[in-house]
Symmetry: C2
């Protein structure tokens, strides 16, 4: 059963993706969810409170999505990274997490926390993959695993930004593809 609380969180997740934090008002959430103002402030003490809950939930979703994808792949490090890079992404919609980082209010520690957790966790995951590949001598050590992990995340986030600015919805796939080609040149057999 979907509780009112869950409904609010899910609606906030949608709106954070579509409009970010600052431009999403409690009224937007109420209008879309059909929940009343009284209920809102019964379950959450503030807009920020709801947003933090929504962002934590979103972070869990995306990390689970990643872990599920990687565990399904039976290939080597390169296949796993490619599986992730090749997920379809729409630049005009923006990254479900990264979309929010530029909002002025998101300088706040509480709002930053789930963002930090998401990107730090993803960084750990990629670092782990690259480290093991380097240990097994299947990946060149030209670039440290950690730096390569940061670059992997940045290529995707940057594709969203450039794609949105130039109204090119498919550009994240293009940058991911180019990056895959560069990664392949680091492959050892």
């Amino acid at each position: 059963m979907a509780t009112t609380r869950d409904l609010l969180v899910d609606t906030m997740k949608q709106l954070l993706w579509e409009r970010g934090y600052d431009a999403t008002s409690p009224n937007h959430v109420l209008e879309r969810s059909g929940v009343g103002k009284g209920s809102f402030y019964h379950h959450f003490k503030s807009k920020k409170d709801l947003a933090v809950a929504a962002m934590e939930a979103r972070a869990d979703d995306l990390i689970a999505e990643f872990d599920s994808l990687i565990s399904q792949s039976s290939g080597d490090w390169f296949d796993k990274v490619c599986a992730y890079l090749q997920l379809p992404r729409h630049a005009l919609k923006g990254c479900r997490m990264g979309r929010i980082v530029q909002d002025p209010s998101v300088g706040d520690d509480q709002l930053l926390a789930p963002l930090d957790r998401y990107f730090s966790t993803m960084h750990q995951r990629f670092s782990g993959i690259y480290q093991e590949a380097q240990r097994q001598d299947k990946l060149a050590k030209t670039i440290p695993a950690e730096a390569l992990a940061t670059l992997t995340l940045s290529v995707i986030q940057g594709g969203f930004v450039v794609g949105k600015a130039t109204s090119q919805d498919q550009i994240v796939d293009e940058t991911s593809g180019s990056f895959m080609t560069l990664l392949e040149s680091l492959k050892r057999h």
Copy 2:
């Protein structure tokens, strides 16, 4: 002489960098510039009108900055690209142009125009550098010049996003550095 109009544009440029478009109000601009409300709406018919002027000016600045840097460099394509990648960047401040793309109101055509012009122009500049390098056989043709140009811009923009999310001010420099190493492997002698 700094006209009132110029003062408003310069102040808006600052605030767009610091707070983005949606979170910057006419009142913020007036407060910081010392200009009165009457003057504001005498020179500009709306907040959007001023923002467009400020963004066009910012695009001109950044393109001129790039052209000046590149014309000073006497090295090959790699040196030129590195000179740009090595410019100091602070992730926590955000890119002076890219910072704004995620604001909900920036779906608007007029606000998108200067952003599009900036990124398209930068893309052209990098494409030109990479194309000539490939023509002279000094750069591998593994990745088309245009795709490499997109990737170059994306790496920087993505660094800003990941850096801000994880509160790591120097991370754009790190991703730029990693990318330079990958680019170097495409160098032909």
